[in-house]
Symmetry: C2
Subunit: 333 residues, 2 copies
Amino acid sequence: MTHHALVRPARLAVAVSLSAALAATGATADDGLGNYRDRFEPLPHLPPIPAENSLTKEKVELGNMLFFEPRISSSGVISCATCHNPALGWSDRIPRATGHDGQIGERNTPTVLNSGFLGAQFWDGREPDLEGQALGPIQADIEMAMDLEVALERLDRFAIYQEKFAEAFPNDENPINEQNLAMAIASFERTLNTPNSPFDRYLRGDLDALNQQEKDGMVAFVDNGCIACHRGPAFTDSHFYAIQVPGSKDVGRFDVTGDEADMYKFRTPTLRNVGVTYPYMNNGATETLEEAVAIMGREMLNREFDDATIADITAFLHTLTGEMPDFEVPALP
Amino acid sequence: MTHHALVRPARLAVAVSLSAALAATGATADDGLGNYRDRFEPLPHLPPIPAENSLTKEKVELGNMLFFEPRISSSGVISCATCHNPALGWSDRIPRATGHDGQIGERNTPTVLNSGFLGAQFWDGREPDLEGQALGPIQADIEMAMDLEVALERLDRFAIYQEKFAEAFPNDENPINEQNLAMAIASFERTLNTPNSPFDRYLRGDLDALNQQEKDGMVAFVDNGCIACHRGPAFTDSHFYAIQVPGSKDVGRFDVTGDEADMYKFRTPTLRNVGVTYPYMNNGATETLEEAVAIMGREMLNREFDDATIADITAFLHTLTGEMPDFEVPALP
């Protein structure tokens, strides 16, 4: 079980920049691991922004409202923030998502944090981007169970949503529509990033940001091949690999493509903030990070990690927990 | 339907104090309504604090965590904040509370805002104080459906809760217990107050804080007798009155006392923030404030208000919306 202190959402940017600046003066001696550091990339403050959905403050503000808006669920009490709960690492910390009428889905809720960096959305990659993702859970029978037309009608009853959609999409005659709903939510989600983790500070030159065990874990992570799939700024290649974790019968990407070659395949999950987004695996059946590391070694790398290696890699993974994004709970109409 | 702009939680205290100070210089001429103003009391920043549960920052911080903690529900996804949603006036804006497995209760969710000022909790007053109230919804089958012992065991698994309970209740050997759970949540709730509404500023001497229609509404509110029950700082006497609103068969306080005299009786609800805590009445069947005013005139005062009077009283009631409390969504373990 992972424990961490009550933290206030962000506001640490100044302090962190200062320590990064100090580190950049080169006060710390080299630790001889430059060839390992070169394999990684720090997390940018923003993910790539698609040309067809420019990131504007009007869309982000509207998306923030919609993300917390339970009236776009048929029960009127479930919002995006119910399962992507900002108090719980923007996920839900239960094995499998629980939605409309208490129905329990087949898969573990992925965090929204840094999801703009993913090359495919959902465990099975059935949507390429956040715009495509956003409308899925609203309509899914076991999640928000809502007809999109009804959702849009409900929003249209509020003058404030008429205003905010018009401001966010000034060229549209009827801005309250499916596409704009998706674009606004996706825009808000693209602001939910967690830069300046200890590991990012380390990559940027603060060589004291990781202790020796965490550095040993980084070395083991590279040398054992974890980095083959968990690479890039979000620690995922966004590709699909077959894996059947204990207790799972989920066929994964096969459901999307119908291609036998995709049987049991799932998209590599991000490891950013993995220390605060337990439980793990597509079915959420793995409670601890140590267990998850052991399973991945066994299933994906055909290795039995010894306890010391598991402890080192786990310590390293905890350094990927960044600053939680600043946000406001909106006052909804 | 009530509409209002997206507002950031509070941070207006300085600006408001300034305008109050300016008003206090007496720049505004008297409006001749001093004898009406004298019938009201502005909302204090804090409600009465019970001697047996002193308000400490440690209890408030712990209570803040627990208020947003879904692991004290049996599904693991429902917290106090689900129905008492800070985005929705700390209520849910649906007719009747929807809880565990989508079950719908018999009554409308009362707001937590200013609930420390109430002399009795729940629509039927079955608990005298917030400490008694706090444990009810956690255990109710149709709300969080949780066994308290299991809830406490879950909390006890997190080192951070062991620490925070010990800090909040330093004299207890085993601080993670029912009583302290209730005391912490109640302490947090006592901080959720909404001072400095336009009407409070008006009462404190800023005679321009209400426009003429709102002042006419105040006069009508007094002259028609609404103030007989809706009085004191929270606009409630916390007494019980028989009422059967359209569509309700709820016997109210009779269920608590078994006394025939309590049949259909409900506690006078607060009118603070009534503009943002729709829908109305014990069964939530009344959508607009205008309708609610008309029903109350008819049922409680035996009067048919004309449209102008309804409009005036409604305008007045909207001036009871105060500054939403500052709070942080906690980072839970």
